[in-house]
Symmetry: C2
Subunit: 457 residues, 2 copies
Amino acid sequence: MPISSRLRDTFVDLVGGDAVLTTGFGGYLTDEAQTSGLRGHADAVVLPRTTTEVAGVLRACYEHELAVTPRGGGTGYSGGAIPRGGIVLGLERMTKVRSFDPLLWRIQVEAGVRTQALRNLARESGLLFPPDPGAAESSQIGGNIATNAGGPHTFKYGATGRWVTGLEAVLPSGDVVEVGGPLRKDVAGYDLKSLLVGSEGTLAVITSAWLSLIPVPEAALPVVALYPGSREGCAAIEAVIGSGLQAAALEFLDERVVGAAKAGLPRRLASAGGFMVIAEADGSVEDAHRLRDDLLDALSEDAKELWAPEGSEIAALWRWRESVSGAVTAQRGGKLSEDIAVPIGRLQEAIDQTVVIGRRHRLETCSWGHAGDGNLHSTFLIDPADPEELDRANAASKDLFALATNLGGTVSGEHGIGLLKAGQLRLQWGESAIGLHEAIKEVFDPKRLLNPGKKVP
Amino acid sequence: MPISSRLRDTFVDLVGGDAVLTTGFGGYLTDEAQTSGLRGHADAVVLPRTTTEVAGVLRACYEHELAVTPRGGGTGYSGGAIPRGGIVLGLERMTKVRSFDPLLWRIQVEAGVRTQALRNLARESGLLFPPDPGAAESSQIGGNIATNAGGPHTFKYGATGRWVTGLEAVLPSGDVVEVGGPLRKDVAGYDLKSLLVGSEGTLAVITSAWLSLIPVPEAALPVVALYPGSREGCAAIEAVIGSGLQAAALEFLDERVVGAAKAGLPRRLASAGGFMVIAEADGSVEDAHRLRDDLLDALSEDAKELWAPEGSEIAALWRWRESVSGAVTAQRGGKLSEDIAVPIGRLQEAIDQTVVIGRRHRLETCSWGHAGDGNLHSTFLIDPADPEELDRANAASKDLFALATNLGGTVSGEHGIGLLKAGQLRLQWGESAIGLHEAIKEVFDPKRLLNPGKKVP
């Protein structure tokens, strides 16, 4: 349903005619959940440039009771940015770096700054913004914060939220709130900042963030190991942790994922394939080398192949690691890829049971992910043009969520609930916690206008 | 007002007669805020041993609308554990280690486990629980979490909350909630865990926590530098950070603090005293030594004295650092010691203005704290028997809070609001954020029974 011309005029007055799209905005109607065939619908797209404009737009929507779906880079996997009517509020034009103090390891950026641009800017001053979710070229820091995005280096450095020291956000009413700032410690109020982190745009629209940075480690040296199967691979992962080695990243890719993606590896494997573990050593040059040796040692038992990339192979390996999701999609044209996380001691069980669940639903399956965090992308391959297959994949996902919670885990380790996992929080939280969850939504968004259907059913 | 004998019988039925104190419980009526003369009053003290007992007690209090002040080790500085009627709910008997998986770097402990006991247990398995607030022998992990306790090593390792992966807590209604668990990543629900961290016992009673641990660094090597004054000392602190050196701790003590405490230093100073900076290098033996050299280099400009403790001097230095608060109290018998935090670039201004504020109120003042986090213990010395002096100190504190927020900082970097800073959050948060804050209290504790008067006025 198109918005009324009066409301369109209101938006145009607020943000300018070029920033209000009422036709031809199909690109704003989905996100990476499109690999499972999901698309949404909206009445208009509004692209504010400033916090004041965001506040004005939200105030108008509040008055007209119009739903608002905030949108970053649209790189999420769970449909969190897929609108169900109302307007899409894209933050892509809010790209200012409001302040940068490299000598004090901090930066304030607007929500639309792309993750890679932020990482590059920090690196030019010898600093690191550690979170490294996939699609860093397209994803935006506001979306990263709204989903508390993870990535391979979360194992050592934590997810996005750990690096946020303050937020500016706009409430559905149009009121602007600021919590925290360029401050490293603050316990004066309840932690509203962490409440907004990972809230998937359902409580407020994040417009700007103060972030802390750290000095770039001198060296980062990955190692790659291949095993006959998940049993040997997961034993190696536990051996690394049990040896007290602090890897920066600790990843796995099962045999099917390695098979789907190995053509792009920067080095030809000696064996036909296998269950892959990637670990990374970082720190000073000397420490990283010594830790790499220790990692190779801890990973060696039962390994059919061990490889320590050097020089340009290192960046190539991580580029390849990031390409894996696309290579898996390419197998059948579509996929339903989840992000359950389990206590690390249950990782092998989760990997093996993913295959069992897929078989039960007659689906090809595979998994890969952030082993050290017990976080796996259990994936069902589908032909997106076949609705019956998608139904089976959705049913398989339900079994997967039950598996995750039975293993003491979570239905979402890093992608968020979005549309794909709507209602699944009840599997892992009791009635009282769910009650608090819904009451908090009510406090921030009493008219239920912000990203409706997400996070809170 | 003593509780009715019927209510006493209810508590005795729930927790046993030895766990209900109705007389002789003076030790439960104050905390470290007693250095400024604060004491509370209560009708009884109840000491449950299990979560079920906590739930029963809270349910009874809910029914009888009796206030409950949760209490850990009573080592807080802001009066957060000081009751204003009702019962004190002491967690000291909940001391079980529910599970410990050293090979997976995680532990689940009950709220009454002492911080040092936890640190010792981890260390026996080569692991570190990094938070190191003062009074670790007495403080309890539940209280550490409820205040998001900091400490010298927060600069590198973050405050207590960073290490909490899950919480079990009891709501005022008596309902038990669990959020998170032995899981390193979880973005399924709003971050209720972080909302409870630092909530000072005003939202729920924390009964147990899942914590993550890391391998103990091989070496930790502090360095000590003395400067003529705050200008040179703060320049040295900024030089360390600006050089991109990741110190594990970065502390300062002003000239007056050094003067009050220097007799206990493990080494006689060559100079008469000065503004002291302590930095610590940790990591592998080689890395820690190299970083220590770099720190000595960065700290050398304008230093009158540099010292790199070795062997047993290292532990002695940190014991001395912890004794500083007591040495300052001993100067006049009492003190009002705050914990404002400011953006690191404003640290010198905060230190210098503390002295100006003290002079304006005719008080002896000093400050020390966690320089790298911009967190300072600005302190006014008082004779606790002189109410007029305490009044002046309270007035000075108000000026100090205004200073902190004018500098873009917070009224509390690590001690919490408690009683001493009641109402001061309004200085740093706008009306909308305050509204959210109060609504969240209402969601968790609609009858306003939990730690009344704290956090939310």
